[in-house]
Subunit: 312 residues, 2 copies
């Protein structure tokens, strides 16, 4: 799956993943109204609004990008109907040829980790039958437990040819509270990065990168530079672009010399672009066209930053 | 809710939480058969088996214990029907007067953490209506993000009078890989414990303990002793009893001088007791009676260990 991701990044020229994180305040009035008219102001109605919103955005951007990253929390808050909308979104994106990174940040141990891995990447046995879980292609995983928490995910990935992104250095302001603490003179996130690199070596794709990648926040470009070197075979998923403050020039450190090795996430910057002054002219009715333009602009921003850095 | 938990621990004399982590291999044949006959060998059938199994166990033990801890991964692996069984289990346990600790180990930042908090402890707005989420009383949370990830949970807990257990030192063998690394001469888990204690001070119950508790594995009793002192107001949720190897005498360090301050989890040791040689005589048909006996024995084990330590 990492090979497929790289292939799609090259063919689209867009090392971009769009975060499908549908908060109610992003969903235009007319979509909410249509959904509530059909299903009421219920959890089902909210889930329908989420689905209609996602579908229109996907239809407008799927040809431009390699991957999407739905954040499951945004669906989980609407209970069972919300999770059904998550499932529907995953299925629809896969139909459209997109790679789906489930942003689930699960992390536990042993049989529990194995159950999460089965739920999102693998299969589950019921009597004589076998069922696929939610069916993402990659998931994000929290490394706090050490290898006990990660190995069950790796095992399922090996079997299913799927992949992981392990949290190394997160994009939030307080990420340093634990992640930056010095251990033997080096921050915790470097130690985590080293482990991620080592764990990934047991699972290499054919394009020079491992199925086991890392999450490193765009808001920490200097750390990105260090981690890029420390994890030469780990693809880096980079959140924090746009709304969280990072721009194209902050990103070049995350890429390798060929302009590969990283994929940059933007969520509200794309899906709620119509609420941004820059794209206001599209209006709420044409929110998905605003999203399309925002993807094009983001691609251009990254492309020119990589060009200036001689990485293209 | 922490006050209510303490009250129930005192009234039952059982600082015990039963982990409702229904793996298929634990569910007796006759239950699986009944479920599959009704719903087929489908995800719905698996969810029905899980529900029937849980219900019978709950019916046999609810009067002995203060709380249950369903592990959501075990439900999530059966997709939407599995999560519906999780919901049904939470609701049923609450009807029975049990406190429900959702073992979800979620952790993310900002609006995403807020969405998880709404999903499991809080409420969500849809149009003019407000809906409760899955409705647990406590959830477990991963601290890797620092306070950005925890504060949204604390905010919801304040509003809803609910609580948290933050991962500090987990029970698995590789938990030391990152958690034991020395920072300024002390292991990471002590630094995390100190933060948990500090975060908890903003949210004290009336019984001397905070709404913000900690998870510390029973498999690390020495660390339990240190952390008990470091987090004097943090209730400790202690996994690792029984199947993971710890026994009553390993637990006394986690309790305060009054024999309070900790609640010990057992999952398969209780719910799959009938598969244990010690309780084989009950047979699969009477699996829930075996669970009841296992709870009684566990209470006795902890009680006598606390008695020997002069903590009762």
């Amino acid at each position: 799956m990492i090979d497929q991701l790289i292939k799609l990044i090259v063919s689209t020229g867009a090392p971009i993943v769009v975060g499908l994180d549908p908060m109610m305040k992003f969903i235009p009035e007319h979509i909410q109204k249509a959904a509530f008219e059909e299903k009421g102001e219920t959890l089902e109605g909210a889930a329908e609004a989420v689905w209609l919103y996602n579908k229109e955005i996907i239809d407008h951007i799927y040809d431009l990008i390699p991957a999407v990253k739905p954040q499951i929390a945004m669906y989980e808050q609407f209970g069972i109907p919300g999770l059904a909308a998550f499932q529907r979104t995953v299925n629809y994106c896969k139909e459209k040829g997109l790679i789906v990174i489930g942003d689930i940040k699960r992390g536990d141990i042993g049989s529990t980790s194995a159950a999460y891995a089965a739920a999102h990447l693998g299969k589950v046995q019921v009597g004589a039958n076998v069922y696929a879980g939610f069916g993402e292609d990659f998931v994000t995983v929290n490394p706090y437990f050490g290898i006990d928490g990660v190995q069950p995910f790796i095992d399922v990935c090996k079997e299913e040819k799927k992949g992981l992104f392990l949290l190394v250095k997160t994009s939030n302001p307080s990420s340093g509270e634990f992640q930056d603490r010095l251990i033997d003179g080096r921050p915790l996130y470097e130690h985590v990065g080293e482990k991620v690199a080592a764990w990934g070596e047991q699972m290499m794709g054919t394009e020079g990168y491992s199925y086991v990648g890392a999450v490193v926040g765009a808001t920490y470009p200097e750390q990105g530079r260090v981690l890029r070197k420390l994890m030469p075979y780990s693809f880096i998923l980079v959140p924090g672009y746009g709304a969280q403050g990072a721009s194209g020039k902050d990103l070049v450190q995350f890429f390798d010399a060929q302009g590969l090795g990283a994929i940059v996430n933007s969520s509200r910057g794309i899906i709620a672009a119509y609420q941004n002054e820059k794209y206001q002219k599209f209006g709420a009715e044409h929110f998905a066209e605003a999203s399309r333009q925002a993807v094009i602009d983001m691609r251009e921003d990254i492309d020119s930053a990589l060009g200036e850095a001689g990485k293209d």
